[in-house]
């Protein structure tokens, strides 16, 4: 009974979410929509990074690379052939990209597939490494992807980047993808396979001796994580309408990492909250870059001061609240009902106190 109630609540809240999106799409201005869209894309990115980093315990810094793969695949697939012929000035686009043209949803799906293939390819050798070494190797991979993108103008148009990508991305897409991502990754985490992933995080030797195939599970987690990073990359390209290799520098991965750590490593709920908080506060912190006065002290305009704020915040979290916002606690309808029972102890005490 209780579980069915939970399902009902989930469906109801999805309907509420859909109504909210409808109103947001019709009433908010482009600026606010952009912030919300970025927030939702960061949810997808953060939750997928959390799968490999938070739940499987593998320190991967390759997310910007997978995003880049996804962004370029989507871009090449959604641009009409005549337009591609026009913008590839340095060198013409190679076949078959020059003639391919697919709907947005297929482009997104293929973005994920290509990113997942890239993950499969590098995951097999690289996931033998542990800890910081894995971090450096995956970071290296992301940089390689970016530099390759810079140097194959016949596919990526090189450093010029690609402009005029159709703006398909809206809140329906970004939130929809985020919801699907959460649904799938949550399903994975709560399954026996998810327990195997967490066993790897907790103690690799123990996991292996209980019969968890390390290579299979690590690569599986890495590949699924990359799939969603790729899809997010596609959304990202069709939101900004312009991409170039510089968009996928390490800072991109770092931003996602901030979201995961602030939200709580191993908490999907925390990642969702942190993704929106991060993007909203990134905008509202803009004034501090313009320079301001603290009493008699004049702080000049320093570009990038916003990120310093986040760096400081990250330090505070690491020093005083390692578990992040949510500390590994997940949202659940049972949790909500317990919370309300605590808030209003007079009502419905008969059931609540027994457990």
């Amino acid at each position: 009974m209780k579980k069915n109630n939970g399902k009902l609540y989930t469906i109801l809240s999805l309907i509420v979410l859909a109504i909210l999106i409808y109103f947001a799409e019709n009433n908010l201005d482009a600026y606010n929509l952009r912030i919300l869209n970025l927030g939702a894309i960061y949810v997808t990115l953060g939750v997928s990074l959390n799968l490999i980093f938070g739940f499987t315990g593998q320190f991967s810094l390759g997310h910007a690379g997978f995003m880049a793969v996804g962004a370029y695949v989507t871009t090449l697939l959604v641009l009409p052939p005549w337009y591609k012929e026009m913008i590839y000035i340095l060198e013409p686009l190679v076949w078959p990209f020059s003639i391919m043209h697919t709907p947005f949803i297929i482009a997104l799906f293929l973005s994920g597939i290509f990113a997942a293939l890239a993950a499969l390819l590098i995951g097999l050798p690289v996931l033998r490494l542990k800890g910081d070494y894995l971090g450096i190797a995956t970071l290296g991979f992301a940089e390689i992807i970016r530099i390759i993108a810079n140097n194959i103008p016949q596919i990526t148009n090189g450093a010029l980047g690609i402009k005029g990508i159709p703006e398909f991305t809206n809140l329906w897409w970004t939130v929809g993808v985020a919801v699907v991502t959460i649904y799938i990754i949550k399903g994975l985490i709560n399954s026996s396979y998810g327990r195997a992933l967490m066993a790897i995080r907790e103690n690799e030797i123990a996991a292996e001796v209980i019969g968890v195939n390390l290579t299979y599970h690590k690569v599986m987690s890495f590949t699924i994580s990359a799939f969603f990073a790729g899809v997010a990359g596609g959304l990202f390209a069709c939101l900004l309408t312009t991409i170039d290799p510089k968009a996928f520098m390490f800072i991109m991965t770092f931003n996602i990492l901030i979201v995961v750590v602030l939200g709580g490593i191993g908490s999907i709920t925390g990642t969702v909250i942190a993704a929106f908080l991060f993007n909203i506060s990134l905008e509202y912190l803009r004034p501090i870059e313009a320079g301001f006065n603290v009493g008699p002290i004049v702080i000049p305009a320093i570009p990038g001061l916003r990120m310093v704020t986040f760096a400081a915040l990250l330090l505070i979290v690491i020093l005083y609240k390692q578990n992040g916002l949510m500390g590994g606690v997940e949202f659940s309808w049972n949790g909500v009902s317990r919370f309300f029972q605590k808030l209003f102890p007079n009502k419905k005490t008969s059931e609540g106190s027994s457990t």
Binding site: L188, S192, N203, E208
Partner: protein, 266 residues
Amino acid sequence: METVKIIKPMELLNIDNITMQFGGLTAVSNFKLKITPGELIGLIGPNGAGKTTVFNMITGIYTPTINKIYFQEQDITGIKPDKIAKAGIARTFQNIRLLDNLSVIDNVMIGFHLHLRSNLVSAILGLPSYAREEKSIHHKSMELLEKVELEKFKEEKAGSLPYGQQRKLEIVRALATGPKLLLLDEPAAGMNPQETKELMSFIQKIQDDFNLTILLIEHDMKVVMGICKRILVLDYGITIAEGNPAEIQNNPEVIKAYLGVDANYA
């Protein structure tokens, strides 16, 4: 050839003269052991004698430098630990290796993962076939926890359990993998006499209940002499004695190497 094989009583485990070298150091040399189903064998020896190295070789964490290990007449040398677990060898660790941040019940349920039939997609989507399997895993895990009276802690984090309970949980987790051969690495370490006594009867009980063959490393002589029918003594990687408890207790080599010259523990 074939007929001879059938007539012979099948050995569960056949360790054929293995040697393990780490660079210039020989941790275990010419170790041989044949275990028939249903035995409870003790492996003893002073610290650093190579007992745990033997366990690590059987479970695939190390690959013997020389010669091979056969489990149910299959060569398992150099096979990965997860495959060996699947074949039916489970173990516990000297320094307990639980999944500390996972709940007690999850620690047991993970033991069933290697026999999971549902594929990844049906598990992610929670299809009915998977839901049934998950339910049965949960049920079996609860049964195992009840055997060691840990069911009331099922939602606690494994790392927060008291030491003795953690040891029990680790054994239960090993049982969840459905082993034929169970390797226990110092199960009584850090236990008080009362707990040790309980542990001894517990080991005998699970051996009967699960039809197990057990190989046991232990420093507590009361445990080893009390429950093992056959004992092997290792010293500096060399097997210096083998026999029943009485033989081991009176073996001069053992007394010299391990128990001390005037040891009188019995």
